[in-house]
Subunit: 292 residues, 2 copies
């Protein structure tokens, strides 16, 4: 089976290389000549255009920043929609808003092309290890066909529901992560203002009901003031904007998402967009200093 | 060593019984005759007043609802302060605001009585098992003296810092728990409005960065609509009011605490005070229905 891979960035490139290592035939076409060399050196095929990728692939994976880029790859001037083989499958592994996933699936279905939304969580190191978590939306038959491919790039692959469900789960994930980072920040700033050692507080509460993966991953970074990414503020902001967009389309108030959105926008404007999202702590630290 | 135990409620009674089982001499005086019988049946001593408890104890443990009750037990009309033996220790295991702990410690110190604030996390089942987490504030010498006692009632006993640090950690804990419950709620309501099965979303995200003890304990309750306590809304509200009070005293804005406080107040007023704090979900569920 030939797999086309579009979007050989920080996440996409290692995922394509893992598919090659597993013996899949991968065809790609990067605008970056060095990336093309790397794909060839790993046994992949490089062609001249995205359309050529589509013309020869049974499955096309897209891994790009957001919905406009996915739509551009599919339906734009250089878009592949007319080159896709009938009966082929597009797996969009980008994190986009789930309503866009549904629109894309509907349009492709008219061309006899099946679609899965399959966003991932876990950063570059997990993409390299092939251990990202994949949340999938789409029909069961298409999911089963693609499962071996997805299991090659991810450690956990869960079909959440029909098309859009993968990105709905991803947005749910991003709400919880952003808010929990904010909660740990507020708690640690309070401890600091009470004159209590933050590390001691972290150690005292991490084993109880307050404990979380976020707390263990991010509290030490907050305490050290070390915001090396990790998952960047501007990427989390992109996801949170997609949550806001989805909430608006559903006419649903999302007060915590709105709160996280305001903080992330402020951080991004202040030049912290390339820091780890644990830099949300900066907002609470500032609250602690303002009135001192 | 004789331990006086004041406050034989849902948490205090099993803790006193665990001390008796471990061989400590415990003296108590409940207003409930059945509780007094139970203490006697377990080998404890029952006296007629709190003052008599203080007069014969090397260590007095208090486990009452909040700071006013602690102050009443110590300094009120029936208060024990003048009966405490010089050189004795008061361990307050109630969850109160840390500034009150500091005030109490200062007053007791003038009488040559040492003080620890040692609030616990974990509910009635853990109190019965002797596996609560104890967060302790106080000087190291007093802490070391009381450590065997605290280890009898708790599985984890951490000295967080000087007096007030135990309750500062407890408040930090309660901020994170309330906010994380709210975050999981908002995420699950969004998933539901997107037409995605909430259990599938929970399963898809629980293993990643969004995963937490709160999510595993509370998401299934939210999905089932089962809010049997557990830890009650009105108790979490009491703690969150203590956070607000502490924030005001420090002139520190705590936006997430304020948000949690508004929700918990609303739930309590609507008659949900005796439900589990996972009933915070009700607030977000209502947001999801309002505009439908």
């Amino acid at each position: 089976m030939k797999i086309g891979f579009i979007g050989l960035g920080i996440m996409g490139k290692p995922m394509a290389k893992n598919l090659l290592k597993a013996g899949y035939s991968v065809v790609a076409s990067s605008s970056n000549p060095l990336t093309n060399e790397e794909i060839k050196a790993n046994g992949g095929q490089v062609v001249d255009s995205l359309k050529e990728i589509a013309a020869v692939s049974e499955v096309v994976i897209t891994m790009v920043p957001n919905a406009p880029e996915v739509k551009d790859v599919l339906f734009g001037e250089e878009g592949i929609v007319d080159s896709l083989k009938p009966g082929s499958i597009v797996i969009d592994m980008s994190s986009i808003d789930p309503l866009a996933s549904k629109d894309i699936a509907a349009t492709l279905r008219e061309r006899d092309v099946q679609f899965l939304d399959a966003p991932v969580s876990g950063g570059e190191p997990k993409a390299i290890e092939g251990t990202v978590s994949v949340m999938v939306g789409g029909d069961e038959v298409t999911f089963e066909k693609c499962l071996p491919i997805l299991q090659t790039v991810g450690a956990s692959v869960v079909r959440v529901g029909d098309v859009g469900a993968g990105n709905s789960a991803k947005l749910a994930n991003q709400i919880v992560v952003a808010t929990n980072i904010a909660a740990v920040s507020e708690a640690l700033v309070l401890a600091d203002k009470m004159g209590v050692d933050q590390t001691q507080v972290y150690e005292a509460i991490r084993g109880g009901l307050a404990g979380s993966t976020v707390m263990d991953a991010k509290a030490p970074m907050m305490i050290e003031g070390d915001f090396e990414p990790g998952f960047k503020v501007d990427l989390h902001l992109k996801d949170i904007r997609n949550v806001m967009k989805t909430g608006e389309a559903l006419d649903l108030d999302l007060p915590l998402t709105k709160f996280a959105s305001d903080i992330l926008e402020e951080l991004d404007e202040a030049g912290y967009g390339k820091e780890d999202h644990s830099a949300i702590y900066r907002y609470f630290e500032k609250l602690g200093k303002e009135k001192k």
